[in-house]
């Protein structure tokens, strides 16, 4: 086995050790159960026009709206509703803008897919272009990119003026 792999693996071990020492303990996957208020406060927007999620507004501002919305969530949970049902309840109350992110259906799906589609199309086009260039490349004549610095007529004029001014001083 090449030395580099062995050294690399040892370094990896060291990094894992460091991470486990420094970072949180490895976590087990969370079991699915009834939603909590925290599950929803991160996914709903406060309606006090602060532009923050319920969770953030509740903590950072004296806001009566976020408090009452959190209470509403608790009431819905107490009625045994699922996360989706609670979200629907808030949408019916406040409109779609209460959701912190668009739904992954209908027009909202465009929000989620367009960025990745754009990158995929861009990546495909770039790969195709590079492949084409590499395939069609002609004789290896490489030009220099270093351009000589030429002061130009304006520069020469400035030099002359600077020289004249110096002479006057």
């Amino acid at each position: 086995m090449p030395k580099a792999i062995i050294v690399g693996a040892l370094m990896g071990l060291l990094m894992v050790g460091g991470l486990l020492m420094a970072a949180p303990r490895p976590q087990a996957a969370t079991a699915s159960g009834p939603p909590t208020v925290d599950d929803l406060t991160d996914e709903l927007m406060c309606q006090c026009d602060c532009g923050m999620t319920l969770a953030n507004c509740f903590e950072s501002m004296e806001c009566s709206v976020s408090g009452s919305m959190a209470s509403e969530i608790q009431q819905q949970i107490d009625q045994g509703k699922s996360k989706g049902e609670i979200s629907d309840y808030f949408v019916a109350q406040y409109g779609e803008a209460v959701l912190a992110s668009p739904r992954k259906s209908g027009f909202g799906l465009a929000a989620w897919t367009i960025p990745f589609l754009t990158i995929a199309v861009g990546g495909g086009a770039t790969a195709w272009l590079v492949w084409l260039w590499a395939r069609r490349r002609g004789p290896r004549v490489y030009q220099t990119t270093a351009g000589a610095q030429d002061a130009g007529p304006l520069g020469r004029y400035e030099d002359q003026v600077d020289e004249d001014l110096k002479a006057l001083e």
Binding site: V16, G147, G155
Partner: protein
């Protein structure tokens, strides 16, 4: 004083507009006398903008409450430092700060270029002065910072309590330096297009400015993150707010630009792409300023609406349309001097890096404007908030990090299989071992283990680069490690400064992944003597005190902290109430170490002495700030003047011409 300030603004507007026209005409017609006049116009515009700024500052510091802006953002009880910071606290003042920075940068460029880039400089001045004229015009005629009140109030409103923080001194100033800093490489690009000097001159001339703007924007964002973390009291540092996004997007595109210009400098390629990138970066800076100032998107940062939105939109449209039109006209002259040789080459990996950086910026832009689009198309308001941005950008940033490790390992032009095997073995070993072990030890979610594995891979690839350089120096010069490392860095500052910046990015990413994936919190209402437990911490509530500090009423809760049975001392979480504001400010108690932050928020209290706390454990957050410091160090090294730069020839110059095999890649 208000009259003097306003007069300086109006005169500055006339001078800047004249200078823009004179610079352009002198460059086109090669009229030397006119250029000399324009050159003096740049200095005069700076002088007048400084006078206007001085007049506003005088008003701010002497409590001249006749001036509406002074009455809105300062007060007698506010410290002089924050009265000074009120310069950029409001819409009109921040426009003046923008203009003053721009005029200052225009003067510095002029002084720097007394001996070089003389064909470009008149055009650069034309662009900067045209922009300055627009800003001064906006203030002179629409958003006057010197507007006076019919009756001066006895005292001013003072800053919003949330702004009464050292972050106010650094966060906006660095962001503005970044935004305005990007004007200079943009102006050089436009100068190159206007003058037809489309070689790498404009890139070399503006490289430091790009680095400066990129660095200032990055640091401004980090200062903002730190401020939000310590003051807002929600336990986070990045809220994916439209205004935060607006300052992040040009930084991402600027990062792409900094990488792709290397290909143009070395291979004479991507000329159109580089100009396009800097146009996008600068347009995004204007977009960011527009979003902050117009209130067009719902944000915690927005100031006001009024005429700012349409005026910025008009400027943004003119800049984008004008520069893209100019680029279109010059397309035939912007052909690549060379072409890519292989899909597996550093050039290709840089292209992919560009694609992902611009893709990430696009994803954020798309999310930011989607609510407007949705309303226009469906007539239904939607929100695009943190969950969307985290989910969409997470995979893109992970891919970017991976690429950050891959790029330095692939040779320029065409990487051989041997080259790839030799370079990838060690970092891959580190990355794969880290990932497998973390997963096997139970780290979930998988994304976290994957992210740590990628970070380990990138760290190893950078370490390898340093090791090779040091080994070469040891062999050739017999230097020991302590001497070889600094000399290696000093011998090629842009390259190793860049790697140090990458180390900073790794550390920031480490903190982000740790805190995003493994944070935990608990909320409890306790009486004095009762405890709150979170992981292995036990917090014992000692009691509540209230006292006055200056004009503020402060309510503070003291808690004794123990970890694993060991006492860590007391922490104090508080809320402060400013005299003239209803809204209190949360001052979080943060106990930070390399492993995690214990973050305690005083949420509320009752008359019976009980208090409600939210306590969070945010793992690895300290590394975000350490990463920022490393980023600062790396940028400073890369920025440092390099006397040997001229000795390093582009790769193209080392390659033999027609019919001859290159000796090395």
């Amino acid at each position: 004083m208000p009259d003097l300030g306003h007069a300086a603004l109006l005169t500055g507007f006339v001078i800047a507009a004249y200078t823009a026209v004179a610079s352009f005409v002198s460059a086109r017609g090669r009229v030397g006398e006119l250029w000399l006049s324009a050159r003096n116009g740049v200095y005069a515009a700076f002088g007048l903008t400084t006078i206007a700024s001085g007049a506003l500052l005088y008003g701010l510091l002497t409590h001249d409450f006749r001036i509406k802006y002074v009455a809105e953002y300062t007060s007698r009880s506010q410290s002089p430092l924050y009265n000074f910071a009120a310069w950029w606290a409001g819409l009109e003042g921040s426009l003046l700060f923008w203009a003053w920075l721009l005029s200052l940068f225009a003067v510095i460029v002029l002084i720097q270029s007394r001996r070089n880039n003389r064909e470009l400089i008149p055009y650069v001045s034309a662009v900067t002065m045209a922009l300055l004229a627009y800003f001064l015009g906006m203030m002179g005629f629409a958003m006057n910072p010197f507007e006076t009140l019919p009756v001066a109030p006895a005292d001013g409103m003072g800053l919003n309590p949330l702004l009464d923080n050292p972050g106010m001194l650094f966060h906006p100033t660095f962001l503005y330096m970044g935004y305005v800093g990007f004007t200079i490489p943009f102006a050089f690009a436009i100068a190159a297009l206007m003058s037809g000097r489309l070689s790498t001159d404009w890139i070399r001339a503006s490289r430091r400015w790009t680095l400066f703007a990129w660095f200032a924007l990055g640091l401004g964002n980090l200062f903002g993150a730190q401020w939000a973390y310590t003051v807002l009291g929600w336990g986070g540092y990045w809220g994916w707010d439209p205004v935060e996004n607006a300052s992040f997007m040009p930084w991402l595109v600027g990062t792409a630009f900094l990488h792709s210009v290397m290909i143009q400098e070395r291979r004479g390629m991507l000329k159109v792409w580089n100009i396009l990138l800097i146009i996008i970066a600068f347009s995004l800076c204007l977009f960011g300023t527009m979003v902050t100032r117009s209130g067009i998107l719902s944000s915690v940062h927005s100031f006001s609406s009024g005429s700012a939105g349409p005026l910025f939109l008009a400027l943004l449209t003119a800049v984008a349309a004008g520069s893209l039109g100019l680029l279109w006209l010059r397309l035939p002259a912007l052909r690549s001097e060379n072409q890519l040789d292989s899909l597996v080459s550093r050039e290709s990996s840089f292209l992919l890096n560009n694609l992902l950086l611009v893709g990430a910026a696009f994803a954020i832009f798309w999310g930011s404007v989607f609510p407007l689009l949705s309303e226009a198309v469906r007539g239904v308001k939607t929100t695009v908030g943190p969950p969307f941005f985290k989910e969409v950008t997470g995979p893109i940033f992970l891919a970017l990090l991976l690429l950050m490790g891959i790029c330095p390992l692939i040779g320029w032009r065409k990487a051989s299989a041997e080259n790839l095997a030799r370079n990838f073995l060690f970092p891959s070993g580190v990355g794969v071992t880290t990932g497998i072990l973390l997963f096997a030890l139970g780290m979930r979610p998988l994304f976290a283990a994957l992210a740590f594995a990628v970070l380990a891979f990138v760290a190893a690839s950078i370490l390898l680069e340093f090791y090779r350089g040091v080994r070469a120096r040891r062999r050739s010069r017999g230097e020991n490690y302590a001497i070889a490392v600094p000399r290696l860095i000093w011998a090629n500052k842009p390259r190793y400064g860049g790697y140090i910046v990458h180390i900073g990015v790794i550390l920031i990413a480490l903190g982000v992944v740790g805190s995003q994936m493994f944070a935990t919190n608990v909320e409890a209402t306790v009486k004095p003597g009762e405890t709150i437990q979170i992981r292995n911490y036990v917090l014992t509530y000692q009691g509540l005190t209230s006292y006055t500090e200056g004009s503020k009423e402060i309510v503070a809760a003291t808690l004794d902290v123990q970890r694993g049975g060991q006492s860590l001392g007391n922490i104090v979480a508080s809320k402060s109430f400013a005299a003239n504001r209803e809204e209190p400010r949360t001052d979080v108690a943060i106990r930070s170490d390399p492993r995690e932050d214990l973050y305690t928020i005083l949420s509320g209290w009752s008359e019976d002495g009980s208090a409600t706390f939210k306590v969070l454990i945010n793992p690895l957050v300290m590394w975000i700030w350490v990463g920022g410091a490393v980023l600062l160090l790396g940028t400073a090294i890369a920025f440092w003047p390099d006397a040997r730069a001229e000795e390093r020839l582009p790769v193209t110059e080392r390659v033999p011409a027609k019919g001859m095999r290159p000796s090395h890649a």
